[in-house]
Point group: C2
Chain length 331, copies 2
């Protein structure tokens, strides 16, 4: 396949490139796009040297598949051009996810929804990490309501915030003044996800978790309230979820279902008090899940903790897995 | 009053000493106890130099009030001796909190429960920080069920873990090997609170939040499920709470009630996306609260975010406020 990556120098783009190579994705040609700042620089893939180009509207001729991972505004501007040129598009941004006729895919969950569309979207990272362990539970017990609090890593806001966290932390340890980029410190600090808040009081990130959960699980009756928080962690998101089910819940069956879900790993050691941490999940493809317990405060309710690498299953890996599905579909 | 502090060199003890001085607590004599490691060292209070002593069972003669902040095992061993010697005791540990005839006090909430007991306990830090904004809401709307996820600072485990977090973080930034004390890294990482887990799957910290909430709000019908998490933050805990009420909830009335609660500060700027962070609350006496929003997933349910200094209102300040109440009671 003739591939293009838009946003190749970003935190997600770098991982897409690496995963395509690592997973031997059949590439006949590769074009890499980024902002003018990176244009002219080279990157290597499978032993070949590729020069980074600035994206223009004419760039999509003779390309079969484009990965977009440069944010919503780039996706909004250039995806229509890529589609017009006949390319398949996998978009990791939030630009088109909620369009009714655009598939939103986690391959382990709803590959069937791919259909024959030219544009496929990859979900929000926190939604993906939550839904991987929740999908088998939904099939068994039918989710009624989710209350989720997230512990999201810097990587969700790209390399820039990851470096900011490291630099600011070093400055604080050295008791040096540091002109932090955010309206508050990030070193040894945390803050409510600073995406746009609407009149409901929920941030965009929190609303994405609600709407994407319903779309991916294909059940608009699912209720979800999320509080999204950025913590001083580099690249893995954690989620504390309280889930109420319609059907009678069995803890043993829940555990078994999660343990047999592809892409999910149960890490639960109650004796040694050892459960998933971001450091366990960082640079790993699996979502780590554990600390399942019955919530005694109401019937058929489960407490669950899950952690996943934001850049891998939370973004790049899921996009590459979608590409593998498209490849299979197109033969 | 003739005062003693047991655990004076610990993170909470240091703050108790500082607050007694700052708030002009009437001290006629002060004895300071710590482990053998600190014995013989001196500390100063109100211009006087005090030599730290090792605690023995005979130490409580001629003392009116003892602060215990050296952990549960020290409290269990020595509080009975202090009571026998006739002293009033304020215990910041979990040793006696759930004894039915021992008051568990947050002065702004249930000072009336002090009664005439010789032993008074100060609650768990996460419970205190959560209940300060919840108390006025409970009076208005009557709490039915709370789902809480915490973001707890290193200070909850004392100076040792605070220094560990700083040292380990520096080593990671310098790419130096570091023999971390925990079974996993703490630098740029987080983990489920590692207190003892019982057969229910809940940790001791999580159970404390449930039982102490019921005792302090004097309502055993309140349901609470908590997930307690240690984050790489130094001294302020944050809590994401989803609260269902029995009565009809009004967001405006909730906001007004919280804003007029003594010791609580509302920090909500929806326009500029600015809400409480641990750095806002660190070294502050108030609990910061904000980001109130109606949870659309079920009726009469509120999402709330609160942050408080773990060492101050979460521990030392509350203990000193209890002492001030005792002082008033005894004249």
């Amino acid at each position: 396949m003739r591939i293009a990556i838009v946003g190749v120098t970003g935190a997600v783009g770098v991982e897409i490139l690496r995963l395509l190579e690592q997973r031997n994705f059949p590439i006949t040609s590769l074009r890499c796009f980024a902002t003018a700042r990176s244009a002219g620089k080279t990157i290597s893939c499978s032993g070949k040297t590729i020069t980074i180009e600035v994206l223009t509207r004419k760039n999509f001729e003779e390309i079969d598949l484009v990965f977009f991972c440069a944010g919503s505004s780039v996706s909004k501007e250039f995806i229509p051009e890529a589609l017009k040129a006949g390319a398949f598009v996998i978009d990791s941004s939030g630009a088109f996810r909620m369009e009714p006729d655009v598939p939103l895919i986690i391959p382990e969950i709803n590959a069937h929804a791919l259909g024959t569309k030219q544009l496929v979207t990859s979900p929000n990272c926190a939604a993906t990490i939550l839904l991987m362990p929740l999908f088998p539970l939904h099939r068994l017990f039918q989710i009624k309501r989710i209350v989720a609090s997230t512990y999201q890593a810097a990587s969700g806001a790209g390399f820039g915030l990851m470096r900011e966290l490291e630099n600011e932390t070093r400055a604080q340890l050295d008791k040096q003044p540091y002109p932090h980029q955010l309206p508050f410190p990030y070193a040894f600090n945390l803050f409510l996800h600073n995406s746009e808040i609407d009149e409901s009081g929920y941030s965009d990130e929190e609303r994405k978790m609600r709407f994407e959960t319903r779309k991916i699980l294909e059940d608009d009756s699912i209720q979800l309230s999320a509080t999204c928080v950025r913590v001083p962690v580099l690249r893995a998101h954690s989620i504390s979820a309280n889930i109420e089910f319609h059907k009678e819940l069995s803890l043993d069956a829940a555990r078994e279902a999660i343990a047999s879900m592809p892409g999910v790993k149960l890490l639960e050691d109650f004796v040694n008090n050892r459960f998933p941490t971001p450091s366990d999940a960082s640079e790993k493809e699996e979502i780590y899940c554990g600390r399942l317990r019955l919530d005694p405060s109401q019937p058929n309710t489960l407490e669950l903790w899950c952690v996943g690498d934001q850049l891998l299953k939370g973004a790049a890996l899921n996009a590459v897995q979608i590409a593998e599905q498209l490849k299979r579909r197109t033969g």
